[in-house]
């Protein structure tokens, strides 16, 4: 009995180790992170939201920079429809000084970000979500009392030129959710910058 309990415990532990971050269909956790305006933001602040476009992004990464205008556009298009953008910088500023909190404030002002730009100072949120690169999108949908991950991946299929993107993944995923359908595709990959993890 004792042995089987130990085995059960160990397998539970290893399952947790293997499960790195969210898959589509998982329930997403709320967080409380510092915004560039000096206030803390949490998803539960948005009582009327139907969901969220959570985007792990940062200042320094050329792929993130290439998508800044498109992220602003997504927020402009979907915030008033109940799906605001929540941008999170997961990088450690010792490893990448361009991604410090003070430089986030500068960048948000320069690009007139219309959405919260939060700092994942403890690097717990990106780990919980399972983000591996910037930019990396998690589209959350409110279903009953939970926020459910309904799309993970890229914003569209052309990082270099928005005008040449033939698949606007996030846009069409939200349109599917609004129509009561499941996004297709619900998972895509893209080239991005590694997340800069704090060195212990």
């Amino acid at each position: 009995m004792k042995n089987s309990l130990v085995i059960l415990f160990l397998s539970f532990l290893s399952l947790n180790l293997i499960a790195q971050g969210y898959s589509v269909g998982d329930k997403a956790a709320d967080f409380k992170l510092l915004n560039v305006d000096g206030n803390y933001v949490q998803l539960s602040d948005y009582e009327d939201a139907k969901g969220f476009i959570v985007i792990f992004t940062c200042n320094h990464c050329p792929y993130s920079i290439a998508y800044e205008d498109r992220i602003n556009d997504l927020n402009r298009m979907f915030a008033h429809e109940g799906y605001p953008v929540i941008a999170i910088n997961p990088n450690d500023s010792v490893v990448q000084p361009q991604d410090s909190y003070s430089k986030m404030i500068v960048r948000a002002r320069e690009k007139s970000f219309g959405f919260p730009y939060l700092l994942d100072a403890t690097q717990e949120v990106f780990r919980e979500y399972g983000a591996t690169r910037t930019p990396h999108v998690y589209l959350l949908n409110r279903e009953e009392e939970s926020l459910v991950v309904r799309y993970i991946g890229a914003i569209d299929n052309n990082y270099e030129d928005a005008a040449k993107a033939t698949e606007k993944y996030v846009e069409s995923a939200i349109n599917s959710l609004k129509a009561g359908e499941k996004p297709e595709p619900d998972f895509t990959k893209a080239i991005g910058c590694t997340i800069k993890v704090r060195k212990s």
Binding site: C61, A66, N158, G192, T194
Partner: protein, 167 residues
Amino acid sequence: MKPFTFVPVKLKFVIILLMIFTVNGLHAQVRVYGFDELKPLLNQQNDTTYVINFWATWCAPCVKELPDFEKINAQFSAQKFRMILVSLDFKRSLETRLIPFVREKNLKAEVIMLHEPDANSWIDKVDPKWTGAIPATLIYNKDFRDFLEGSYTYDELYNIIINNLKQ
């Protein structure tokens, strides 16, 4: 007579300058590939061991591990070994960033640029484990395949190659 002797000297100078630029230019040539052209290089069935490293000039951890890759390339270049550094820099920075970088660092390993912005269409074809972050490296031959998203240390790289290299 004076102007006559002056002209050839100037010409010689121009010719030397031209030669220097041509030699340098040839040395730092970087071919631009689509994924269809790169794909065969990821699946060769011969005795050569391939190291395919995905990187970019703006990617700090990639640039940091480049000297180790260069050293490995020099060590194994006489053997059945081929290294290709696949740059994912933006195409518009080929002339302004990538080629000057290759020249400045005097990279000896083969450098190509992959221009295929619809990354979702090809990342899984390199390796299904790859989420898309760089650096990422594929090491393989016909009997062996190893893929890593992240950085190798010199020792890791050396050991994988020495343990799998074919005579």
